[in-house]
């Protein structure tokens, strides 16, 4: 049982609240630096693309948003499985807070994709396989959020959403693959978009920076929202009341950081 100690420790909202408080700046500061730095680098210092000119630069937001949104769903589904199998309350909280963050990122990647599409393809929307997949991912997120809100009972909501998230995670590969197949069936051979492999290393490096920055910022947001969720759920517990009442200076210092 000894090697499971960390697991139970992580499952304790109290321990998580205290630990995550120390972790927050370590995610926020490098995350912001990498993301903003990468954006500045990509927008100002990378030479324009010989085919697309300056419009390609939106990938420094678009690609990280899409990648993290996708990863976030799998992260949420993992939290869902942990919640269902080990009945860890913390996992339910994480699952609940990831859904809106993931949905926002998906929406961001759809909007930036449309903005990118206008100068590139001459239209805001193309029924391209990848865009369609992201749109479906957006709907999957919204379904989970809607289901969560429909339940009055918090525990039932968490369990129902966990089942739906897992069902969705099983389905996502099938959906992506079927959309890919659907697109290949209908794709006119004359149109060919730039492939990911042709990207030049000078363009790639800032992308790596914004991508890793986005992951860190995602982690930061998840911790932040989970802490808020803990405060909401555990407001009647002794440890939280004690901490919030006595640690007020420390708390505000943390917020300043």
């Amino acid at each position: 049982m000894a090697n499971w100690a960390w697991f139970h420790k992580w499952g304790s909202p109290r321990w998580f609240y205290q630990f995550s408080g120390r972790l927050l700046p370590w995610l926020a500061v490098p995350g912001l630096l990498l993301f903003i730095g990468g954006c500045v680098w990509g927008l100002l210092f990378v030479p324009p693309d010989f085919k697309q000119g300056n419009s390609f630069r939106i990938i420094y937001v678009h690609v990280p948003a899409a990648a993290v949104a996708m990863g976030a769903y799998m992260f949420m589904a993992t939290a869902a499985a942990v919640h269902l199998i080990w009945r860890m309350k913390l996992a339910a909280m994480v699952m609940k807070v990831v859904a809106p963050i993931g949905a926002s990122l998906t929406f961001l990647s759809l909007v930036t994709g449309a903005v990118w599409g206008k100068p590139t393809w001459g239209t805001w929307w193309v029924w391209d396989a990848r865009i369609t997949s992201v749109l479906i991912l957006f709907f999957l997120y919204l379904g989970i959020i809607a289901l969560h809100q429909a339940f009055e009972n918090r525990e039932a909501a968490a369990k129902a959403c966990a089942v739906l998230a897992i069902v969705g995670a099983v389905n996502i590969p099938i959906i992506y693959w079927s959309v890919e197949w659907w697109y290949s069936l209908h794709q006119p051979a004359s149109i060919k978009f730039i492939g990911e492999s042709t990207i030049h290393p000078t363009m790639l490096r800032p992308l790596m920076a914004t991508l890793s920055g986005m992951y860190l910022l995602f982690g930061w947001l998840v911790l932040l929202y989970t802490r808020a969720e803990i405060i909401d759920r555990e407001r009647n517990t002794r440890w939280l009341q004690d901490m919030l009442l006595t640690d007020r200076p420390a708390d505000s210092a943390e917020r300043g950081a």
């Binding site: 269902l84 479906i136 709907f139 999957l140 919204l142 379904g143 989970i144 809607a146 289901l147 429909a150 339940f151 009055e152 009972n153 525990e155 039932a156 369990k159 129902a160 089942v163 739906l164 897992i166 069902v167 969705g168 099983v170 389905n171 099938i174 959906i175 693959w177 079927s178 959309v179 197949w181 659907w182 069936l185």
Partner: protein
Amino acid sequence: MKRMGVSAVFVAILRRDLRSALRSGSEWANPLLFFAIVCTLFPLGIGPDARQLALLAPGILWVVALLASMMATDSLFRSDYDDGTLEQMLLSPMPMYPLVLAKILAHWLTSGLPLCLMSPLLAVILQMPMSGVPVLVVSLLIGSAILSFIGAIGAALTVGLRKGGLLLSLIVLPLYIPVLIFGSAAVKSAIDGVVYLPTLALLGALFMLAVALAPLAVAGALRISVDQ
């Protein structure tokens, strides 16, 4: 006291659900009516041009059949939940998998199967070329069964909620997409004279996956819905 085997219980559920569905009529007739009426709306919205309709018919038929199947799914567990017989099922000492499988099968026999059988009629109305009709029926036979399995998960998750109907569509429709893609593509291939068997085989694979996994998710979801 004599004990029943799992297959006898399976048959008991099937018989009871079919009986109550046939006696109340609306359960199997309403999705059919919906299918017919919505298919009539399309020519009115698009225009009576036979060539255009023929082009769109496979997609229209599949989308409307999908919607009809989804609307029927909402009632899959609702009356059982309301009258407390769902609790009796969940308290059974039998394994849940065959019981849930029987419920889904009964539901498909009273909603999905009639849709498949009526689809040739609507295909004619929508000017679909005759070469696509057999594949339409077969693809709907397999496809509507998958839709029943996926829909059952959504129905089980929302059965305890007062406003289940619209929510069910939000959570279930994105999961229906692969079925729609392969189903309508098979019909189009048949009309175009291209090979359609591989596409039907893909639908068959999805069906196998649904049979294996969906009843487990449904059983879990029902326990959650009853416990709130």
